[in-house]
Structures are given as C-alpha cells and as structure tokens.
C-alpha cells in the first residue's frame, strides 16, 4: 500500500469551492440523484477491480487444482479436479458465472469445496471489529493531535506533532506490530502477544484487541493528523474565523465552533481514504497477531490460486469501503448544505 507523502486530501473543503451560483430548487433531490450516480460509479469500479483480480490470479503460475493437490496425486487426478472446479473453462466465463451469483449473495465455492460466503462469514465480523476500532482510534487521536497542533500554528507542539505524524505515517504496519509485541508482550508482559479465538470465533478477551488495533492505527493516525492539521489551517484563514478571533473568543472555542465545522469535509474524506488503508493493513496485522480475520483467508487464497475466494474477500471489503466513502460524501454534503 503506497501512501502519498503529500497532503493531497487536504485540499480546501467543499465550503471553499466556488459553485454557489446555481443551487437547484430542490437541493436534496438533486443530491440524491448525484448520490445514486456516485453509487453506480463506485459499483462499476468495484466490478472492474474484481475482473482485474480474476485475470491477475489467472496470470499467476499454477492453478487452484495444482495448488491444492496432494503430492503424489497423478496428473489424471489433477486434471479431473481441474474439470470439477471448472478451471478448464475460459476465465471470462468463470468470472461471468461468479458475478451473476453476486447479487443473490452467492460468492461461489472455494477450491477446497467450501461455499465462499461460509468461509468469509466467520472472520469477516472480526476484521470489521478490528478495522472499526482502529478507525475510531484514528479519528479520535488525529482530531486531538491535529487540533492540539493547530492551536498554536508554528509553535513547539505544532512542529513536534507534525514531525511525529510525518515520521509514523510512513511506518509499515509490520514494523509497528513487531515492535509492539516485543515491548508490550515480551518485555513488559502487559498485554497478550497474540489473539486467540474463543468458542464463538471472536477474540477471547478485549486485551487481545489492544495491540492489533494500535498497530493498525498508528500509521493512519500519522496520515490523518496531517490532514486535520492542514484542514484546520486552511479554515482558520476564513473571514468568519478571523471575526471570531477578533471578537476575542478563547482559542479552543474558535477551534471547535468556527474552524472545525468548515474543516469537516476534508477530514471525512481523509478518514474515508484511511478505511481502505486500514483494511489493507489488517491483512498484515492479522498475520502478526494471529488475529482470526479476513487477512489469513486472503493470504491463503492467493497461495491456493483460489479466484472465487480472493474476489469474495475483495467484494466484501470493497462494499465496506464503498459504504464508508458514501458516508464521507454525505458528511460533505451535509457540511456544505446539500451540495455534492
């Protein structure tokens, strides 16, 4: 996952754009239509992505029949399974079949014969929990840090927070994860080193969630703190903020009531971008902490050349990301008075 090192997302929010001239008579209807359009565009994007994945798995050397075979199975056995899995049919046909099942929730069957939906139903809630908690931690921490830095632009705190944020946003999750295990599990022995699942398949205790959530959040906190800081700085130059400052309001009040609302669209967009990063990072973090989530399934599915499973994982995570992006659009719409 490549994160740009510049604050591309920290552009002026919707409030600063100049499109205020042609507001339609019924703004919410208009927004709804725009929203549907967005949804359609994103769904199309997801479909293209899934097709690309099918082809990518196809291009990998070997296939699912080979990858899941036992050593010593004859070529005839493997050919038989290849036929059974439908691997002898063209990839377009297999993709078409898989896609037509998608609207009914049928995600196909894995190379090992299990329905993909079942295969994902166990770990998916766990990954959502991990990602959701990490998103929450990211939101709170970056708002706090970004706000703190913005209180005194150019001050010591500002420089320290901005510098720290830049340093951690480039840290790969596995470095953070391994370091956390070393310090908090092995040296200090404060927290469990790995996540074990209970009889229900969920993490056995809340302590087991702490390190994975922190490992996943840290790079994203770095990223979002910079966005928050930049968005607040932009907004701070708005005329109404200057007025508030000249009125002699206390700085935290100016920040919360006058600066933050205007900066929200940019912050929401930044967080939405982080959702994808968080779900991507989860694959790595789950491996380090043995977290019972989708990461393990995805990694195994790639090794198995199991296109339905790979596509299934991407479809469900893609749906989540699409949902969050829409939510971010709604926040922007709301913050800018119904315009999208």
């Amino acid at each position: 996952m490549a994160e740009p090192l510049t604050d591309t997302a920290a552009q002026p929010g919707a409030g600063a754009t100049g499109g205020k001239t042609s507001v339609p008579s019924r703004p919410w209807l208009f927004a709804g239509v725009r929203l549907l359009g967005l949804l359609a565009r994103r769904s199309l994007l997801l479909a293209v992505l899934l097709a690309t994945l099918f082809v990518a798995v196809e291009l990998l050397p070997g296939d699912a029949a080979m990858a899941t075979s036992e050593r010593g199975e004859s070529a005839a056995d493997i050919a038989e399974r290849r036929a059974l899995l439908g691997l002898d049919r063209p990839v377009t046909e297999r993709f078409g079949d898989w896609m037509t099942g998608l609207p009914t929730g049928d995600l196909g069957t894995s190379a090992r014969g299990e329905p993909v939906a079942d295969l994902l139903s166990r770990p998916f809630p766990n990954t959502l929990l991990l990602g959701g908690l990490a998103l929450l931690v990211t939101l709170l921490a970056s708002l706090a840090l970004g706000g703190w830095a913005a209180l005194r632009p150019g001050g010591m705190t500002d420089r320290a927070v901005s510098g720290g944020a830049t340093a951690v946003l480039a840290l790969p999750e596995f470095v953070v994860g391994v370091a956390l295990v070393l310090v908090f599990a092995q040296w200090l022995e404060w927290l469990p080193a790995v996540t074990l699942a209970d009889s229900g398949g969920a993490p056995a205790s809340w302590q087991m969630l702490v390190l994975p959530v922190v490992a996943l959040s840290i790079p994203q906190i770095g990223w979002n703190t910079r966005i928050v800081r930049a968005a607040l700085a932009d907004e701070a130059e708005a005329p109404h903020v200057e007025t508030a400052v000249l009125d002699g309001l206390p700085s935290h009040r100016v920040l919360l009531h006058h600066v933050l609302p205007g900066a929200l669209p940019a912050i929401a967009a930044g967080l939405a971008t982080s959702t994808g990063m968080l779900l991507g990072g989860a694959v790595v973090v789950e491996t380090i902490f043995n977290y019972p989530g989708l990461g393990a399934v995805l990694a195994g599915a790639v090794t198995d050349r199991d296109s339905p499973v790979v596509a299934g994982v991407v479809a469900v995570t893609g749906a989540v990301i699409t949902g969050v992006l829409l939510l971010a659009d709604l926040v922007r719409a709301w913050a800018s008075g119904g315009r999208l």
Binding site: P192, L196, G201, T303, D304
Partner: protein
C-alpha cells in the same frame, strides 16, 4: 496421507531464517538438556493442555479422509479418530484400533483384528464393518489410489465383527505401515454431511470446533488406556512467528512443529523446553538419472555426493537442528542401514570422477528450487558454493511454487525436493525409487534395485526381509539420483510443566494422548 506440499511447508517453517542466524552465530549445542525433564516425576491427572499448531483459515478440513493441509486439523483429527496402527520407535508400527494382524504366505492378504472394547464416542462398539466403510470411503477420495496403494475398494472386506481383510494387488510386507497413515475410522454409513460431527474412537472427544480452533475433552472410555489430561485445546496459527510469540508469552503450552528459528529464540529461556524430533524431514537434491541428463552417468552423481560438505549444510541450513545423512531415504526407520559407511567430502576423488566421466566443467548447470519451505533455496545456494570447489559451476534458479511443481518436479535435471513422511525405507522405495513409481523424482530405472525391493516385499520372514532391505539401501546409496546430505529435526516448543510429549517424526508428532501437566 503422504504429506502434501502445504503440510510440508508448515513442517519446515523457519528453517531458512535459521540459516541466517546460524551464519552469524557460533556452533550449536546439539545436546538436549530438556529431554530429561520429560521423563521425571510421577504422572499427574488433570488440566487442560493448550496446543498451538500451524494452519491456514481457508484450508480447514474437517473430513478425516480429506487431505489435511493444516497441521492444526491433522492434530485435531488424530486426537478424535483412531487409525488401525500408529508409529512407534521400535518397531516402527504399533497396534492401535487393530490389536494384531497376520498375513497370508504370499503377503497379499492381510487380516487386522480390532482391539477389544473399542467403542465410538457415542458408546457403540467398533465393528469390522465400520472399518471397511471408512477404508472404502478413503479409497474413494480423489487421492485414494495413492493413499491406499495396491488395495482396491472391493478388496477391503469384513470377516465376522472384529476382523478386516485387505487384499493387496501385490505382495506387500509393509501393509500395516500404510494403515497408520490414512485409516481414520468413522461409523459405517456416516453421510458426508455429518462427517464433521461424526463420533470417533480416539482418546479425546470433540467439544467444539470453530474456524480451526477446537476444544477436545478426555474420552474416559478409551480402550487404549488411561488419558491424564482433562482436555486439549487446539489453536490455529498462521505464522510460526506468532505461534512462537504465543508460547513465549504463556498463552499456549505447546507450539507444535514451530521450527528452528523459534528454537533459537527459546533456547535462552529456562521456562521453555525445546523438543527435537530427529529425522523429521528430508531435503534431498535430485539428480536426474535418465539418459540425456548431464547427471545420467553414475560417476557424475557420485562426484556431486562427494563434493558436498554435509556438516556445513546441517550447521548452516538447519541451524544445527538436524543430522548428517548418507544418501539413503528413510533414516527414521528402525531397519535403516546404519552400517553402510558414511560418505564424506572428498574433493580430489570428486574431481577425478568428473574427469573420468568426461563431465563438461566449462558449462554452468542450473539447480531449480522453490521457496516453499524456508531454507530450501538457501540450501541450494550453499550447495552451489560448495561444489564450486570441485570445479562444478551451478546457478541456483528460484521458481515460484506453482511453476516448480508443474514444470520442474519429476522432470528437471537438477532440483531440490523435500519429504516430511520420513517413515521408512519401504515408503521411499515404493514412492520415489522403484522404476514404475508415479513420482519417480530422479527418473531412476534400476532393475537390480527393483528386483531387490520386490523380493524384500515378498519375503515373510522378518530377519530375511531385513537383510534384503539392507541390500535395497546399499543399491540406493551407491547408485540412486538422490543426494541426501542431512535430515532436519522437527521442533516443538513447550512450557516447562508439560510432560509426556511425542518424540517421533511424521504422524508420531501428533500423538498427544500420553501428555500430562506437572503443575
């Protein structure tokens, strides 16, 4: 089940990084001070043993007759279900669900008598019909023919309530050995849909299973003797690193088959036992013997076998967790030919043999390998460096796993391979050395070897057979296409309080029914 590749992958996890560690570390202490701990004190009953085992979430298999790619599934199934026979130290096949067995004089018809008092977890007695159903079901799996070689489904029959008769297509003196790998027994008529919940006959009953994790409770009615543990909890782990971390943090009691890297980390810890199971995995170099291969001349193969520095390989590739081997596969077999003189490095002789054979020294030869098992590629690189001293130029080519198994395995002139089923001389002879074997990795066709193997397999008298098997091994040592430089240990980590851990390689590593906790 002959271990499949994925299973082997886990088995070998970590060896590669161990090589790196070894390169900067000093010599390795090969003594095992922890071994003594295991035999002390009077066994205590009670407690729950938490075992971590490697596995992948998408490869979970609940069917005892499926191919268990996951160590974790294999472990769970082995505790719930019984096989007819199990591995032993000496002899290497011991009774389990079958209390005894006899064969006809031609060694084709075998009768297995079931253990008295054996019952399923629901209380019903185990009958010969149940075993016949299970073996036929196994034979009907996609890899059934390779799991029960030489035995057709129709030739598996019940005789009375407690005798199962197997008729092999050919004389097979080692049939009881096959019965310990593949013969998990379920009730007659178990439907495929019910197989996940099918009661077993083993020392533990399944309490729950979810996503590769399971809890198993003691079977008080087990015919095999008293089990001390109250329960075993099996936890699935994706990476050896996480598995080792969990053990060091005290979240589990045993890290099963975790590998050499973990062992190096744990050796400094007083509260952790490093359990080494010798002869766990073979990682030989394959030299194609068939015409057209640069290694077709036996002199060339001999030269390569003389050019390798075996001690250095064990020290660096296996991080010292292994032993030097003598180019004979099946080192774990009690019938292994210890008396065949150990081949040692002799560069002068290697060079003269190459000259005699007219081997082209100006050419660079490719050694194909994968990174399936960490350590495999490193082994290839070290080997290439070593044989350079005998003026042989070898370039290591790393292939992606799928390509390797598709294009190189069974076909290449020079490549690496690995086998975790280190059962017996006979296993390897039938699997990879006999001319007509389906997985003849070296393309070896040696009538003398074939004849010696067949005669041995058709010889009923154990002493006479042992002598013949020694001859089989001698021929292999002298002429085969394998360069087996060493054997990797299997490595488990365990908390200091765990006793009675399994010590055998292969299927023996999952026999936890005698374990107990000294707490």
């Amino acid at each position: 089940m002959e271990l499949n590749r994925r299973q082997l992958l886990w088995a070998g996890g970590g060896i590669g990084a161990a090589a790196l560690l070894a390169a900067c570390g000093s010599g390795v202490d090969t003594s095992s001070p922890d071994a003594a701990k295991n035999s002390s004190a009077k066994p205590k009953a009670g407690g729950t043993l938490r075992i971590g085992a490697l596995g992948r979430a998408n490869a979970i298999i609940r069917d005892p007759h499926g191919s268990q790619a996951n160590e974790s599934d294999y472990l769970i199934l082995s505790l719930v279900y019984d096989t007819l026979t199990i591995p032993g130290a000496k002899p290497n096949t011991l009774p389990r669900l079958a209390s005894s067995w006899t064969s006809s004089d031609d060694l084709k018809t075998w009768r297995f008598t079931l253990a008295k008092g054996a019952t399923f977890h629901d209380g019903t007695p185990v009958t010969a019909e149940d075993v016949v159903f299970s073996l036929r079901r196994l034979r009907g799996t996609p890899s059934g023919a390779s799991r029960l070689p030489g035995i057709k489904a129709g030739n598996i029959k019940a005789e009375g309530t407690d005798t199962v008769v197997l008729v092999s297509d050919y004389a097979n003196a080692e049939l009881p050995l096959l019965m310990r790998l593949t013969t998990f027994v379920v009730k007659k008529g178990t439907a495929d849909k019910e197989i996940e919940k099918a009661p077993g006959t083993g020392p533990f009953k399944l309490e729950w299973f979810r996503g590769g994790n399971a809890r198993l409770v003691r079977n008080d009615e087990w015919y095999g003797g008293k089990v001390l543990l109250d329960a075993i909890e099996v936890k699935i782990f994706e990476s050896p690193q996480a598995l080792s971390n969990a053990l060091l943090a005290g979240q589990i009691d045993v890290a099963s088959n975790v590998g050499a890297v973990a062992a190096r980390t744990a050796e400094k810890r007083k509260d952790v036992q490093v359990v080494r199971r010798p002869n766990d995995m073979a990682m030989p170099i394959v030299m194609r013997t068939a015409a057209g291969s640069p290694f077709a001349d036996p002199k060339v193969r001999e030269a390569l076998r003389l050019a390798v520095d075996r001690e250095a390989m064990v020290r660096q590739v296996l991080s010292g967790y292994g032993s030097v081997a003598n180019d004979i596969l099946g080192t774990g077999d009690p019938g292994y030919a210890e008396d065949v003189p150990q081949r040692a490095r002799d560069l002068a002789k290697a060079k003269s043999l190459l000259k005699e054979a007219g081997f082209e020294l100006s050419k660079t030869y490719e050694l194909m390998t994968t990174e399936d098992i960490p350590g495999l590629a490193e082994m290839a690189t070290l080997f290439a460096t070593q044989v350079r001293e005998a003026d042989i130029k070898i370039k290591v080519v790393k292939q992606e796993s799928g390509t390797f198994w598709d294009k190189t395995w069974l076909k290449g002139d020079l490549y690496t391979t690995y086998w975790g089923t280190n059962d017996s001389v006979v296993f390897f002879a039938s699997k990879v050395l006999v001319s007509e074997s389906g997985t003849n990795e070296t393309g070896w066709k040696n009538p003398e070897f074939d004849a010696a193997y067949r005669t041995a397999m058709a010889t009923k008298d154990p002493a006479a057979r042992a002598k013949l098997l020694r001859e089989v091994q001698q021929i292999q040592h002298d002429a085969s296409g394998y360069l087996l430089w060493g054997m990797a240990d299997g490595i488990d980590l365990a908390a200091a309080t765990v006793r009675g851990l399994p010590r055998l390689p292969g299927y023996g590593r999952v026999q936890f029914e005698r374990a107990w906790l000294n707490r």
